[in-house]
């Protein structure tokens, strides 16, 4: 079948098949999805233990700690994004399939976010409570973390695609992605801090939303190109 | 002369910057040269070995 024969529903079918497949795989091996979540909770509790229990300090550092932990947890989960597909050969199938590769890759990122990013977002209000962050900021916390983790999943998929099949790809992946993830970290943590201080947060939220859109539209193409190169 | 070199007390800062820059430029030049020599010699060794085995 040539690409010209596709209609919209056909494209959607391929996309949703990928999402369903990856969700099913995650369902069968819940440990893989739980690990980042546990990691997130653990890193967040390390900081108060290291810096002392002063509530004022926790309030000041809480948003930053939360975001650093979220960033690291997302990175941890990214390493496996394409590895199993690469090892069992289904990556070849993905690349050779008549469906456009960027769309399939977007499907993988969506499934990845649903299994790691979303749970992370959902538990963060609980962790925020342990930092004695006020409950009024829960809305802004959920919003910024949602936008931010989507961006991180998409950005990270580029790194995962570039390092798939390499030895010690894990450390390399962090080295590639961390500098690119700085805008998300800066705007995410700052916006939550501003919310805690009771200041206006709209500029940060707009930035995160815009950055998320940029990643949604560009990252799948970069990831697809990188996958093709890595799988040669 | 020493007055000009001391830079009104800021001499150590200014001169360490200049010195560091010169050192890094030298390191860049030397490492580029060594890389060129290594690549050249590697290719020569390989080609000679191939010729002898023929």
């Amino acid at each position: 079948m040539t690409p010209a024969e596709h209609d919209g529903s056909d494209l959607l079918a391929g996309f949703s098949a990928i999402v369903r497949r990856d969700l099913l795989l995650a369902w069968k091996r819940p440990g893989d999805a739980l690990n980042p979540l546990v990691f997130y909770a653990m890193v967040s509790t390390l900081f108060p233990l290291a810096t002392g229990p002063s509530q004022q300090q926790l309030l000041l550092n809480g948003p930053g700690v939360l975001w650093v932990a979220a960033l690291l947890a997302t990175l941890l989960a990214l390493n496996g994004l394409f590895v199993s597909d690469y090892e069992d050969g289904s990556l070849d199938q993905l690349i050779l399939s008549p469906q456009p590769l960027p769309l399939l890759v977007l499907g993988k990122s969506v499934a990845h976010w649903l299994t790691t990013g979303l749970p992370l977002v959902l538990v963060s209000p609980v962790i925020a409570m342990t930092f004695s962050l006020p409950t009024e900021i829960t809305g802004i916390l959920l919003l910024t973390l949602t936008l931010g983790t989507i961006s991180l999943s998409l950005l990270g998929s580029i790194g995962a695609a570039l390092t798939v099949g390499l030895n010690r790809g894990n450390a390399l992946l962090s080295l590639l992605i961390l500098p690119l993830a700085m805008p998300v970290l800066i705007f995410g943590a700052r916006t939550v801090s501003l919310a805690v201080a009771g200041d206006a947060t709209s500029s940060g939220v707009y930035f995160l939303a815009g950055y998320c859109m940029l990643n949604l539209s560009l990252a799948p193409f970069a990831t697809a190109a990188a996958l093709k190169i890595s799988n040669e | 002369m020493s007055e000009a070199l001391s830079m009104g007390g800021y001499g150590p800062y200014v001169w360490s910057c200049i010195g560091l820059t010169l050192i890094v430029l030298a390191v860049c030049a030397i490492s580029a040269r060594r890389r060129q020599h290594r690549i050249f010699n590697d290719i020569r060794t390989q080609l000679k070995a191939m010729e002898q085995s023929r």
Binding site: P179, F187 | I18, L20, A32, I39
Partner: protein, 246 residues
């Protein structure tokens, strides 16, 4: 005109004519740096605010400018290499990365030394330029790490080109976010206002001089890259076995 570029892009031709350019660039560049630095260090008047410490500008600004220039060269040649599959372009990208990293390091180090007498601290997070330079250095490290992690040079060229492009898209965003971040806590700035010509001219001379030296180093590295990439070709065989000098 076009034939000139075509010949330039042909590896053996490039390999042969590069040394002449390297020599001219290096000699002119070093003379200019000597001239500009003499003017900047000894002849330019003292800055009324920063006294003699401002003279660090004569090495800081050229290296900072070249650290960004190197990334642009890398990203542009990576794009050319990806789209037109030009081998020389990938060689340029490979040669520019370590130089860019070294110049970024220089810009960071001189900026930090400059900051010590001005801000009373070696590192001021409030200065957006230092912070974004640091992130730039990390980007270079990532690029070089990816390149060296892939054994197949053709694959390394293409994969690192994708990374360079992704980085090029993100650099303006990273700069913007760092500036936004520091604007919230009032960063200090070094050097404001216009410079008189006797201060500015040595700086311009030094910028030109450093650019030429950078160009010479880049051409030298690209020449090595070309030699390595073409190691199985006939012209390299004739060159190496013909007893010709390096």
């Amino acid at each position: 005109m076009w034939t000139f570029f075509h010949k330039l892009a042909s590896p053996p031709h490039f390999y042969r004519i590069a040394p002449a350019f390297i020599r001219v660039f290096a000699v002119t560049g070093l003379v200019l740096i000597g001239w500009g630095s003499w003017g900047g260090l000894f002849e330019a008047p003292i800055d009324y605010q920063q006294k003699d410490a401002f003279r660090i500008i004569y090495v800081h600004v050229p290296t900072a400018y070249l650290s960004m220039m190197a990334y642009s060269i890398m990203a542009v040649s990576a794009t050319i290499g990806l789209i037109w599959r030009m081998k020389l372009a990938h060689a340029v990208a490979a040669g520019a990365a370590p130089l860019g990293a070294w110049f970024t390091f220089l810009a960071l180090a001189t900026g930090s030394i400059w900051g010590r007498p001005m801000w009373g601290t070696w590192w001021e997070w409030g200065d957006p330029r230092l912070t974004s330079q640091l992130l730039m250095l990390f980007l270079y490290f990532g690029y070089m790490a990816l390149r060296s992690a892939i054994d197949d040079p053709l694959k390394a060229d293409k994969a690192s080109a994708v990374l360079a492009l992704v980085g090029a898209v993100n650099i303006p965003i990273i700069h913007y976010s760092v500036y936004w971040w520091t604007s919230l806590h009032q960063g200090q700035t070094v050097m404001e206002g216009k410079m008189p010509p006797e201060m500015l001219n040595p700086l311009l001379i030094n910028i030109l001089g450093f650019t030429l030296v950078f160009g010479a180093l880049l051409l030298y590295r690209v020449r090595s890259e070309v030699l390595y990439r073409e190691r199985r070709s006939r012209w390299v065989r004739e060159l190496v076995l013909g007893g010709e000098m390096r």
